[in-house]
């Protein structure tokens, strides 16, 4: 029976790109449907009535929502090129850090780039501290997943590509080579992997979108006062 895999996503979203990266890594064919998140399609609302968000993976008519849930589903369904270790301890570790990235890092990074001016210094400090945990977690590994790209690397796509774009769009400096040599090396390795590279939104387009949606960035405003 022919398999049907649909991905509802948004071109600039790191979350829907995660799903595409995982499918690409495993060589799974899929049909991509671009969603206008300001004007959500009836299909999206049907497939994700609870959160009404992208990404949604629809496999033979059955929807799966939430990017990290989707990544695990992909790994369990298509067993070639695994993105999670078989070892329970390593799996727990990958899940822990992926959750950390989504629940702690991303909000902190966002605050540092586009938060309130009076909280800017503190936001920078917090984001730096959180990135330091990831720097330490990487240790001497080529990827978070070890020798090959794993679930945590895919989840860390925000750090590997989007962070640099946020920095440029908002005039903030966070991921410096000086403070984060390992993360910077990893980011270069990560974006060089073809399954990843093919799924990165165009940089200039993303910068323009971010500036349009969130403004010029706290740091840009901050330095204007100095």
């Amino acid at each position: 029976m022919a398999e049907e895999v649909l991905v509802f996503g948004a071109w600039g979203s790191p979350f829907s790109r995660r799903v595409e990266m995982a499918l690409k890594l495993k060589g799974i064919e899929y049909k991509y449907i671009e969603e206008d998140i300001t004007n959500k399609s009836p299909s999206l609302l049907k497939y994700n009535p609870v959160h009404k968000k992208i990404p949604v993976l629809v496999h033979n008519g059955k929807p799966v929502a939430e990017s990290l849930v989707i990544l695990e589903y992909i790994d369990e369904t298509w067993k070639d090129s695994p993105i999670l270790s078989k070892d329970p301890s390593e799996r727990a570790n990958a899940r822990f850090w992926a959750k950390f990235i989504d629940e702690k890092c991303l909000p902190a990074i966002f605050k540092a780039c586009w938060g309130e001016e009076k909280e800017h210094e503190k936001a920078l400090e917090e984001a730096t501290e959180l990135l330091q945990f990831l720097e330490n977690e990487l240790k001497e590994k080529r990827y978070f997943g070890g020798e090959t790209v794993g679930l945590l690397d895919i989840a860390a796509n925000i750090i590997g590509y989007w962070l640099g774009v946020f920095e440029e769009a908002s005039g903030t400096e966070l991921l410096t080579r000086e403070k984060f040599p390992k993360l910077c090396n990893w980011a270069n390795e990560f974006v060089s992997v073809s399954a990843i590279k093919e799924n990165l939104p165009p940089r200039e387009k993303l910068i323009a979108y971010l500036r349009n949606r969130f403004g010029v960035g706290t740091a840009s405003k901050y330095t204007r006062h100095l």
Binding site: V64, L68, V69, Y73, E76, P88, S89, A92, F96
Partner: protein
């Protein structure tokens, strides 16, 4: 070699209770170490330096943090009995989605019921029932969220039941009146010994939270 399993926990934490249920379901012997969350021990800070929170499972010296991650770890290591997650990938994804929903939504709206007052409390009450109505919808006519048997989503949500008395008194709400299916489901879950033995007593939780509210000037 015998397994050494230690749980760092705080008696009224609904997150810690999840791990207790999982350990009980699997019949795992472990050492429970009560933590003072207002005066964190060196052990807790060493085992969870990132979040500095309970629960932490320490298995043969290695820590695992975050309650639902711990529960999945337990399910994967002790995989010979009482599966906590379904074996089918789609059903597993469905379970993970709803457990994630509980984590993202239930705690936050519940907290408002006892930790806020005035306008914020009223908003909290409305949101609380919005979320629980969604959960009732998902439960439908099934005995458990997991279907015929108690599963991952049931485990992730049932522990909040030990706080229901807190929510009803301080939030001035009647959960059974608004969400009778949830109460029926909760009572069904409590018939399981592993659940009944792992949940903190509603009255004791209420007394403790009462004290906490006084400290915060909410009384």
């Amino acid at each position: 070699m015998a397994d050494e399993v230690v749980l760092l926990d705080f008696w009224l934490s609904m997150f810690g209770m999840r791990v207790r249920i999982a350990l009980a379901e699997k019949g795992i012997k472990y050492e429970y170490k009560e933590q003072d969350i207002f005066n964190k021990s060196p052990l807790l800070l060493e085992m969870n330096p990132i979040h500095k929170k309970i629960p932490v499972l320490i298995h043969n010296g290695k820590p695992v943090c975050e309650s639902l991650i711990i529960v999945q770890y337990i399910d994967e290591v002790w995989n010979d009995k009482s599966p906590l997650l379904p074996s089918d990938p789609y059903q597993r994804a469905h379970a993970r989605f709803w457990a994630d929903f509980v984590d993202k939504k239930v705690y936050e709206v519940s907290r408002k019921l006892w930790a806020t007052k005035g306008e914020e409390l009223e908003v909290g009450k409305k949101e609380f029932f919005e979320i629980y109505k969604i959960l009732e919808g998902e439960l439908g006519d099934k005995p458990y969220f997991g279907g015929e048997t108690f599963g991952f989503v049931d485990l992730s949500l049932i522990t909040f039941y030990s706080w229901f008395h807190v929510y009803e008194v301080f939030g001035n709400i009647n959960i059974e009146a608004e969400c009778p299916k949830i109460i029926a489901w909760a009572k069904r879950c409590l018939q399981k010994e592993t659940v009944a033995n792992s949940l903190a007593d509603q009255k004791k939780v209420y007394e403790a939270v009462g004290q906490l509210r006084k400290m915060r000037g909410l009384e």
